[in-house]
């Protein structure tokens, strides 16, 4: 028996007392229960207060228990973990409740009739009507803005990353930074004074699209720039060393390598402008009738439609329902665009594996 394992070994230095795996869940459940209890007992109206009490309890109890059982270092680890979880929940709750609210209220009137009908001669307080005209307006205005902003933005980013040196590049970077901060109403006012007041053009989807393009361009430049910078220099050099001219190297090696990220950036920019109201209000004016020509006459757009249903209806429930349904449509539209972009990004991403 001389080789038998000595069971009376001193405790391993690698092991220490640990809270069981289920401990965080139990503490969380306990904190929520305690938060509700305290809230009820104290007669607190606001659920937010209940939640905050539960969150504080959760962090504190985790810390105290861990400090008692596991020791100081693990307690700090636990407190960091629990704070991260609480912060995550705090960030997610408004998001989820927003989507929940929009879906719950928007689903009421969202059907094919709603999607394929305009407001026509309907008064804003009446039941019925739809968003066909606004959907067309949004698609056309955003499409036109994308057509204007993406080529310019792409070329600017290519210039900055691949060619830009010295003063000009610095100036361009500076102006792109400034443009990133332009409030949408200012872009709208600029086009208003330039296009409508000075050049004497009328309200149109195209005028709105120009303002949207101004808002979109810096986002495209910035995201494309970052993506191009991620392309390893070795690939450029490999191509140049094959005797490929620089412009072809950019076109055939650099852009394909980064096309996934560029697409995602463009889609984010599209999502940003699709929800803009102010420039559309100023330049496209709004129109309850279907106008498929973005170059002539006022059009509608989804954000503008939402705003007008809310503002012009004197609290009519039918108009509120339409506004929610239009908001839901806008969210779905942008989500679909994002999914498409992700699909493209994955499909085009540099291939790995065998």
């Amino acid at each position: 028996m001389s080789h038998a394992i000595n069971t009376k070994q001193p405790a391993s230095t690698l092991q220490g007392a640990r809270l069981p795996k289920w401990a965080p869940y139990v503490i969380a459940a306990g904190s929520v229960a305690a938060g509700c209890g305290i809230g009820l007992a104290g007669g607190l109206d606001s659920r937010i207060q209940w939640g905050l009490i539960a969150a504080i309890l959760f962090v504190a109890v985790t810390y105290l228990l861990a400090a008692k059982i596991e020791g100081g270092r693990q307690a700090k680890d636990r407190i960091a973990t629990s704070v991260v979880w609480v912060a995550f929940l705090l960030a997610v709750i408004p998001l989820v409740s927003l989507i929940w609210e929009t879906v719950a209220r928007g689903i009421k009137v969202l059907d094919t009739y709603f999607l394929t009908t305009s407001m026509g001669v309907l008064a804003d307080t009446d039941v019925g009507g739809g968003i066909y005209h606004a959907l067309i307006g949004t698609l056309e205005q955003v499409g036109l803005a994308t057509l204007m902003a993406v080529p310019v933005g792409l070329l600017t980013a290519i210039y900055l990353v691949e060619y830009g040196r010295g003063k000009l590049a610095k100036a361009v970077t500076f102006f792109v930074d400034v443009m990133t901060g332009i409030p949408s109403i200012v872009a709208g006012l600029f086009i208003l004074s330039f296009w409508i007041l000075i050049l004497g053009q009328g309200y149109s989807g195209f005028a709105g699209a120009m303002a949207l393009a101004i808002l979109m361009m810096p986002v495209v430049v910035r995201s494309t720039e970052e993506m191009l910078k991620l392309v390893p220099n070795e690939l450029r050099e490999a191509s140049l060393a094959l005797g490929v001219p620089k412009w072809r190297t950019i076109l055939k090696v650099v852009l394909p390598t980064s096309i996934g990220g560029i697409t995602t950036g463009v889609m984010l920019a599209v999502a940003r402008i699709a929800g803009e109201t102010a420039p559309v209000l100023l330049l496209v004016w709004g129109n309850p009738l279907i106008n498929t020509n973005p170059f002539e006459g006022p059009q509608a757009s989804l954000p503008l439609y939402i705003y007008q249903q809310y503002a012009n209806s004197a609290g009519s429930p039918a108009a509120y329902d339409r506004a929610w349904a239009a908001a839901l449509t806008l969210i779905i539209l942008i989500m679909v665009l994002n999914l498409v972009a992700r699909g493209i990004a994955r499909w085009k991403a540099p291939k790995t594996g065998r």
Partner: protein, 280 residues
């Protein structure tokens, strides 16, 4: 100055393919100094690289071997601030003359880099075809032949012939490096520059590449930078030793001679110290 009546060489126009029978060319470097911005990286280097031979560059890190190598096909000027003084003559023609298009220089003098860098968006086939395709002067029917010939030339054909449409990044490091060599020789350069092509590879892959270099030197002029003395001794006909007098000082060519002589009886003491490990 180049006289306008002088016939244009093949560097100043598109390469006449049929005229190239003996592809290897001699390089004469005279008084070459290279800068990164205001930093002088190498100074006053003169040497001759013989055609159809392997010339190895050895020397401590930072002495400018890569910089010098990159001046030989005008890749140095791709680096921001990169600037060169002096002459590099390819069979008597100055690569830095004002009429010379660097793009044509690089088609004539190919390069293989330290880290294998296949194009990640392209398949194995497309990687090898990249040089021809991107330059736009190729016949569709010839492409498959060129790819096969180049892959055979790089001793990679048997390993990849069943997966030509798979991405090049799925290969092992050694295979990727041979893929890069195949890509470089597919455009039929006359000189092949290799910057530590084996430093990221295991001994077996290294051996495969060394064998390949031995075969390639029948057709190309080869210049290889290496940190591995045995490798220099094994593969090269001539060896050049570079050194720098102090950190921050420009690197210089100490001597260039037949490899046997450099490794048995170099004429400069510093070379012997470096080779025998008594350096620094």
């Amino acid at each position: 100055m180049r006289l306008p009546t002088e016939p244009l060489s093949d560097l100043s126009q598109d390469l006449p393919k049929e005229a190239v029978i003996d592809m290897a060319k001699r390089i004469d470097v005279g008084g070459l100094t290279a800068y990164y911005g205001s930093h002088k990286a190498i100074e006053d280097i003169s040497m001759t690289v013989e055609p159809r031979s392997v010339t190895a560059f050895i020397g401590p890190s930072g002495c400018g071997k890569s910089t010098f190598l990159r001046t030989l096909n005008r890749m140095h000027e791709v680096t921001p601030g990169g600037r060169v003084e002096g002459k590099v003559m390819l069979d008597g023609e100055d690569l830095y003359a004002s009429a010379v298009d660097p793009v044509n220089v690089r088609r004539t003098i190919g390069m293989v880099f330290q880290r294998p860098n296949p194009f990640p968006t392209m398949s194995i086939f497309d990687n090898v075809a990249a040089g021809l395709r991107l330059n736009g002067n190729y016949k569709k029917a010839e492409l498959a032949d060129v790819v096969e010939k180049s892959l055979r030339g790089a001793n990679l054909w048997n390993e990849v012939k069943d997966r030509l449409n798979k991405p090049g990044s799925g290969l092992s490091g050694g295979q990727q490096q041979r893929l890069c060599i195949a890509r470089a020789i597919a455009v039929e350069p006359q000189v092949l520059l290799m910057d530590e092509p084996c430093s990221a590879l295991d001994p077996i892959s290294t051996l495969a590449i060394e064998d390949l270099i031995g075969e390639l030197k029948e057709r190309f002029t080869i210049v290889i930078v290496t940190h591995n003395m045995q490798q220099a001794a094994r593969v090269s006909d001539r060896t050049a030793f570079f050194n720098l007098s102090a950190v921050g000082q420009p690197g210089r060519l100490i001597e260039i001679d037949d490899t046997e002589r450099i490794f048995s009886n170099p004429s400069v003491q510093a070379t012997e110290d470096y080779i025998s490990g008594r350096f620094g």
